[in-house]
């Protein structure tokens, strides 16, 4: 189980001072900071982190979903942010239930999120609301199911 020493970093401190509602949990593991954000606050928190001059997380490295099936909330969407000038990384995590795995798109803040979100939609079935064209990217358009999910067999359906 991950250790939970909050407020270790300045970013977490600042984020909490900005809006304590936007932070539900802070996880420190091997020197990496993860901030768990409620789904409804994600877009606001992302916009703040990207635009606040003292933080300036201008670069979105990656978006990754982890499927915790059969646990609930089932999905964890991880946003790996990077501040180029301050040389600091931060992970935002949003937990989504299995019945409605949807979260607001961050393409307005980081245009690079376009393909990341399409990939997460394609392989994990996460819906990103407000995405300019949420379609499959790696699998064929008529593919059924989301292959990266844990209840999808490694060898596929035959």
């Amino acid at each position: 189980v991950e250790s939970k020493d909050a407020d270790k970093t300045l970013v977490v401190h600042q984020l909490k001072a900005w809006d304590a509602q936007a932070v539900t949990e802070v996880i420190e593991f091997r020197g990496e900071t993860t901030v768990v954000v409620p789904r409804e606050h994600l877009l606001r928190a992302a916009a703040y982190l990207a635009s606040e001059p003292s933080l300036h997380f201008s670069f979105l490295s990656d978006i990754t979903t982890v499927d915790r099936f059969p646990l609930e909330p089932r999905f964890e969407v991880n946003y790996h942010l990077l501040s180029l000038d301050r040389k600091e990384r931060l992970r935002l995590k949003v937990r989504l239930g299995g019945s409605d795995p949807s979260v607001h798109s961050v393409t307005e803040i980081w245009p690079t999120a376009n393909w990341h979100e399409r990939e997460n939609y394609d392989l994990m079935g996460i819906r990103f609301e407000g995405h300019p064209e949420l379609s499959r990217i790696l699998m064929p358009d008529d593919w059924e199911g989301y292959p990266q999910r844990k209840d999808y067999p490694v060898e596929g359906y035959r």
Partner: protein, 399 residues
């Protein structure tokens, strides 16, 4: 993977052309759907997925050590970079320290990988734009590097030489002499390529002012590596977040400000020269003898000798190769500067012997996203230059 595009000017006025997936300049199976007004590209839409093999899914079904062999196949022009990044990520979860000798050997060989990868890029980019002889020269030198990989690891391409906790085998005798011979010959060869290209009017005409991307756009689109440094952003993970003792090496981050194909060409050629500097330093630093694996019983397999002579060694050997090892639960993201940019491995452990989730942050995948920005509004011939300059490997794009 969609088969049609919405045209911007209406289908009565323009033509939609399929480029690829079997087009020789797309370096694999990239398909680009182009909307053309005569020779001018109005809209370009990359269509990918033809090489999707579910590597990330497959890794979940393997043990941590077995999954290394999958990483070779992601970016098959720089397998050692992938090995390194994955191993660093797992080592981070495990919290183990790698002996300095293994770290230097890793640096040395990943820089050789960078040189080999940039040589392939230069040769194929040049042949795409009509300069055939450069291709023959760069592949000649690349072959020498491949021979070194074969000599050291037993494989030319799918090396799997870096293992969790160190490297697989003691390097063979006189291996540094082989590397020195290749490295000493390289600077003159690079002068030769530059002599053929840098002041060549056709080359300048095909690359200068073509495929321009500003620093702001490059950052917004998540471009990394030479794609970002060619636009003037000095972001290099070897400097920003040093790993594997890169902080002990003296080298410069190469940048250009023009942001066009020529700038990225200059960055990559300069990076080959920087890599030569790093390789030379690494050859000085690597101790002739010393451990190549961390000491972590139950995680790192014991040496052959130990396995044959002690009962603990035999038990650990058997357990590691049958069941694997179980790192503590947790999640890490480890990024390295691969020849193409920020290569990242997100590894999530649930405390079992199989990685719960592995996600590859593939630089080719993200850099390819900039392609429409690079070539829209330009001639169809420039699309070839723009694809070449993003230096994509389709194995990594599709995974």
């Amino acid at each position: 993977m969609s088969t049609t595009i919405e045209t911007v000017a209406g289908s009565a006025n323009t033509m939609v052309l399929n480029m690829g997936p079997q087009h020789p300049s797309t370096h694999g199976v990239l398909r680009v759907v182009l909307e053309l007004d005569g020779e001018i590209v109005l809209k370009a839409r990359p269509v990918i997925g033809y090489l999707h093999t579910g590597i990330e899914k497959n890794m979940e079904a393997k043990t941590y050590s077995q999954a290394i062999t999958m990483t070779d196949r992601i970016d098959y022009l720089a397998p050692l970079s992938n090995n390194l990044c994955y191993c660093l990520a797992v080592e981070k979860i495990l919290g183990i320290e790698i002996p300095k000798r293994a770290q230097y050997i890793r640096v040395l060989l990943t820089e050789m990988t960078r040189i080999a990868s940039h040589l392939v890029w230069l040769g194929t980019h040049a042949i795409d734009l009509g300069a055939m002889s450069v291709f023959l020269y760069t592949f000649r030198e690349r072959e020498e590097i491949m021979k070194i990989f074969e000599y050291v690891s037993g494989q030319r391409m799918m090396t799997s030489y870096f293992r969790i906790g160190g490297i697989a085998l003691e390097p063979p005798p006189n291996w540094l002499d082989h590397i020195r011979r290749v490295i000493d010959a390289l600077p003159a060869h690079i002068d030769e390529y530059e002599g053929l290209l840098t002041n060549n009017r056709i080359w300048l005409g095909r690359t200068k002012g073509v495929g321009i991307i500003s620093a702001e756009d490059a950052i917004a689109m998540g471009a990394s590596g030479p794609m970002l440094r060619g636009s003037g952003v000095p972001y290099d993970i070897r400097k920003a977040f040093p790993y594997s003792s890169y902080e002990e090496f003296d080298f410069d981050v190469q940048t250009q400000t023009a942001g066009d194909c020529f700038a990225r060409y200059q960055v990559r050629v300069a990076e080959i020269r920087e890599s030569i500097k790093i390789v030379r330093q690494a050859m000085e630093k690597v101790p002739a003898e010393g451990p190549i694996k961390a000491t972590a019983p139950g995680i790192i397999a014991p040496s052959r000798e130990e396995m044959k002579s002690s009962i603990e060694g035999l038990i650990y050997h058997f357990k590691i190769y049958t069941e694997g090892f179980a790192p503590p639960p947790g999640e890490v993201y480890q990024a390295i500067e691969s020849p193409r940019g920020e290569l990242g491995f997100f590894v999530s452990s649930d405390g079992s012997a199989h990685p719960y989730r592995v996600k590859v942050r593939a630089p080719s995948f993200i850099n390819l996203q900039t392609l429409p920005k690079l070539c829209e509004g330009r001639l169809i011939a420039d699309v070839v230059a723009c694809i070449g300059t993003t230096d994509i490997v389709l194995g990594e794009v599709d995974r």
